[in-house]
Amino acid sequence: MATSLVLLQAVAELFPNGISRYAVGGLLVGLGTVVIYVGTGIPAGASTFLESTLSYVSDQSRFQRYVGSRDWRVVFTAGIILGALAFAATVQSGVVTTSLYEPGTTGQLYEVAGVTLWTTDVQPWRLFLGGILVGIGTRVGKGCTSGHGVCGVGSASKTSLAGVATFLTVAIGTAQVVAALGVSP
């Protein structure tokens, strides 16, 4: 009895927001990937959009190789943005309520035209500098959290498993160092 209480407490500390919002969100991310795959045979990743969109404005050969897919990648990204907006207009705004959703306490909420929107407290220099490295690393490393992490791992690809192990380990180390240096948020 006492040990199971201690165990429950430990689990609660490791998952302060529960797991349902993560698991449900993950199922939906997977479902979105499957919908595209069933119709088109394409295991779509998110980071190629960065290079394929640059092909509209730059004739560098690295970007021009994506000319054939750049239009649908813009559509995919527009869908992601609007899907997230639909989440904001429903669940985040409290119009749709479910016990599977844990709102949490991060960042700042604000309202525009009755829709509850959200904005981060993480400092812009972290986002910009980190963004540059994400832009370089995902393209050199052949994929990001969706390409390698979802589609690649789902394909049991050894390349993707190596990629995920690498970026997860390095990201944990980086975040720990940044926090130890006193950078917050």
Partner: protein, 152 residues
């Protein structure tokens, strides 16, 4: 490309909507939540990534047994297998530093914009700068490598 099925883009759009809704619902569009995972303060993130990987893994495994080609493209159903080389590790490490510093990855950044996070434009701007820098550099070195052959 021009003769793609008329439902090709609408389907990609619907897939993107579900994908983006999921990233919002899971709070992956919030850099704070990703950083909290990396600091071991909230271990929920793997449920998103591996949950999504399991769902897509089932489709990747089943569809090739049911049909040969996808209805909207005629493309064969294949898994996502990319060749391994040093770039996977080098790029993965650079991505890891960026992800650990900012708490945001490309798909989550698009979704973050959708939930109202205007500040994420800093990260999106950075991603385009980074993608352009590596593309510029790699286009140059490819042209340099090809130059001796085409010079004669």
């Amino acid at each position: 490309m021009a003769d793609r099925h008329p439902l090709f883009k609408p389907l990609v759009f619907v897939g993107g909507l579900i994908f983006g809704f999921g990233l919002g619902f899971s709070h992956m569009a919030r850099p704070e939540v990703v950083v909290n995972f990396l600091l071991f303060e909230d271990l929920g993130l793997p449920f998103v990534m591996f949950g999504a990987a399991i769902v897509s893994g089932i489709a990747f495994a089943l569809l090739p047994r049911i049909r040969d080609t996808a209805p909207l493209t005629g493309s064969p159903y294949e898994r996502r297998l990319k060749p391994f080389d040093r770039n996977v590790l080098v790029g993965g490490a650079v991505f890891g530093v960026g992800w650990g510093l900012s708490g945001i990855c490309p798909g989550a950044a698009y979704a973050s914009l959708g939930v109202g996070n205007v500040t994420i434009l800093w990260a999106l701007g950075g991603m385009f700068v980074g993608a352009y820098a590596q593309g510029y550099w790699r286009s140059r070195s490819e042209a340099r490598d090809a130059a001796p052959a085409s010079a004669d």
